[in-house]
C-alpha cells in the first residue's frame, strides 16, 4: 500500500514537472530557443531519479573507486594523480567538458581515456590501462564527475576542425548492412520509437554512463560501437581515431549543454 502511494506521489511530482518542462519548451519554441535534449529527458522518471540520487546511482560507486585511484601512488615514478593535480574538485573542474582535445606537445586529439593514459605512461611511468578497463573507467568517472553541472565547452583549437569535419562525415554517412546513418536516427528521427525505445538526440552529456543494459559503466566509444553494431556496420578497431573524430563532432554539437556524468541510461 505504502509503496503504491509513493509511486503515485512520484508520478504526480514528475508528471507535473514534465508538464512544466513541456510547456516551457512550447513557449520557447517560437523564439528560436535551444531544442536540444539530453538523453536524460528521454528517460522515465524512475531512471531520472536513479541518476539524480547519488546513493542510488551505480555510477557513483565508480566515482568513489576513482577517487581512491586518484590518490594512489603507482608506476616507476611512484606518483599519484593527486601529487601533480592536487584537489580534483578544483583542478579537474570543467576538464571532461572540453575533451577530446590536443594535449600540449601532441599533434592529435585524445579523449579523456587517452589523456589519463598519457599521464599514466609519461608522468607515473606505469603501463597504460587496457581499453575500457574498470580502473580506467573509474578514473574517467571521477574526473568527469568534477564537471557535473558545467556547460560542454569544446576547445577553440583550429587544429581540431578537420577532425570535427571527419566526425560529422562519419555521422552523416550511411553504413552497415542496414544502410543507416547516425543522422537518420539521431537528427531526423530523434524522439520517435525504435522498437519501443525513444531515440535520443545522442548528446554525450553523461559519459561514462552506467547503462542498465550493460549492467556496468561504459564509455562513449562503447556506446558508439553499440550503435554501429546495431546497423551491422564494421566496427572501427578499439582505439581508432574515428571514435575520437565522432566524439569531437558530438561534443561540438552539444556545446553549452550541461554535463551530467556519471549518467544512468537504459
Amino acid at each position: 500500500m505504502r509503496a503504491r502511494y509513493f509511486a503515485i506521489a512520484l508520478f504526480l511530482v514528475f508528471g507535473a514537472s514534465f508538464a512544466l518542462a513541456q510547456s516551457q519548451g512550447q513557449s520557447q519554441r517560437g523564439s528560436g530557443a535551444d531544442t536540444r535534449r539530453s538523453g536524460y529527458q528521454d528517460m522515465g522518471p524512475a531512471l531520472q531519479q536513479m541518476q539524480d540520487d547519488d546513493t542510488a546511482n551505480p555510477g557513483m560507486l565508480f566515482v568513489q573507486q576513482g577517487s581512491k585511484l586518484w590518490s594512489a601512488r603507482v608506476g616507476v615514478a611512484g606518483k599519484a594523480c593527486a601529487d601533480c593535480h592536487g584537489d580534483a574538485a578544483t583542478s579537474m573542474k570543467g576538464v571532461a567538458a572540453r575533451y577530446p582535445a590536443i594535449p600540449p606537445g601532441a599533434d592529435r586529439p585524445v579523449d579523456l581515456e587517452g589523456r589519463i593514459d598519457l599521464c599514466r605512461t609519461e608522468r607515473q611511468q606505469a603501463p597504460a590501462f587496457a581499453h575500457d578497463s574498470q580502473d580506467s573507467l573509474a578514473l574517467q568517472a571521477f574526473v568527469a564527475a568534477q564537471s557535473r553541472g558545467q556547460p560542454i565547452a569544446p576547445p577553440d583549437d583550429p587544429r581540431l576542425s578537420s577532425w570535427r569535419v571527419q566526425g560529422e562525415e562519419i555521422y552523416r554517412r550511411r553504413q552497415g548492412q542496414l544502410n543507416l546513418s547516425c543522422a537518420i536516427c539521431h537528427d531526423e528521427n530523434a524522439g520517435k520509437k525504435l522498437a519501443g525505445v525513444t531515440i535520443p538526440q545522442a548528446h554525450p552529456t553523461g559519459y561514462p554512463v552506467y547503462r542498465l543494459e550493460w549492467q556496468g559503466l561504459g564509455s562513449l566509444r562503447r556506446r558508439l560501437r553499440n550503435c554501429l553494431f546495431g546497423i551491422r556496420a564494421e566496427l572501427y578497431p578499439v582505439g581508432a581515431p574515428e571514435y575520437v573524430a565522432l566524439e569531437l563532432y558530438l561534443m561540438e554539437r552539444a556545446k553549452g549543454m550541461t554535463m551530467e556524468a556519471p549518467a544512468v541510461r537504459p
Binding site: 552497415g176 548492412q177 520517435k192 525504435l194 522498437a195 553494431f229 551491422r232 556496420a233
Partner: protein
C-alpha cells in the same frame, strides 16, 4: 520492374505463417524496429515508418515485394533498409558482407504475410 516485382524471387509462393514470424522477430526481419503492425504479442514496436496494418490493401503482391527487396528504387532517400541488395553499401560488418538481410525465400514468406493484412 516499374513499381513492382510481379514474380516470386524463388518461383514459389511464400508461407504467410512463417512470414509473420520473420516480421515479428527483432533480429531477423527487424521490421517492428521501425514499423508497427497487427502483432499484439510484440509490445515494443516502432513509429519511424507507417503501420503495416492494411499494407495488403494498399499494395499488390508485386508492389510489396519491390518495397522489401529495395525500397530505395521508389524513394532514393528512404530509411528502409534494402533487404535483398548487397551492392552500394559501405562498411558492412564482416559477418554480413555479401549477404542480403533476408533470403529470397524469407522475402517470399514476408510478402505472403503482408498480402493478408487487408485492414
Amino acid at each position: 520492374m516499374g513499381d513492382a516485382i510481379p514474380r516470386s524471387l524463388t518461383g514459389q509462393a511464400g508461407d504467410a505463417k512463417r512470414g509473420r514470424a520473420i516480421v515479428a522477430n527483432r533480429s531477423v526481419g527487424l521490421c517492428l524496429l521501425c514499423h508497427s503492425g497487427p502483432i499484439a504479442e510484440e509490445r515494443f514496436q516502432g513509429d519511424l515508418a507507417p503501420s503495416l496494418a492494411g499494407a495488403g490493401a494498399r499494395w499488390s503482391e508485386g508492389q510489396l515485394r519491390l518495397r522489401i527487396v529495395d525500397a530505395s528504387r521508389l524513394n532514393a532517400d528512404t530509411i528502409m533498409p534494402p533487404y535483398y541488395r548487397t551492392t552500394g553499401l559501405q562498411r558492412v560488418a564482416q559477418a554480413f558482407e555479401g549477404k542480403t538481410v533476408l533470403t529470397a525465400a524469407q522475402i517470399e514468406d514476408v510478402v505472403a504475410y503482408l498480402v493478408t493484412l487487408k485492414d
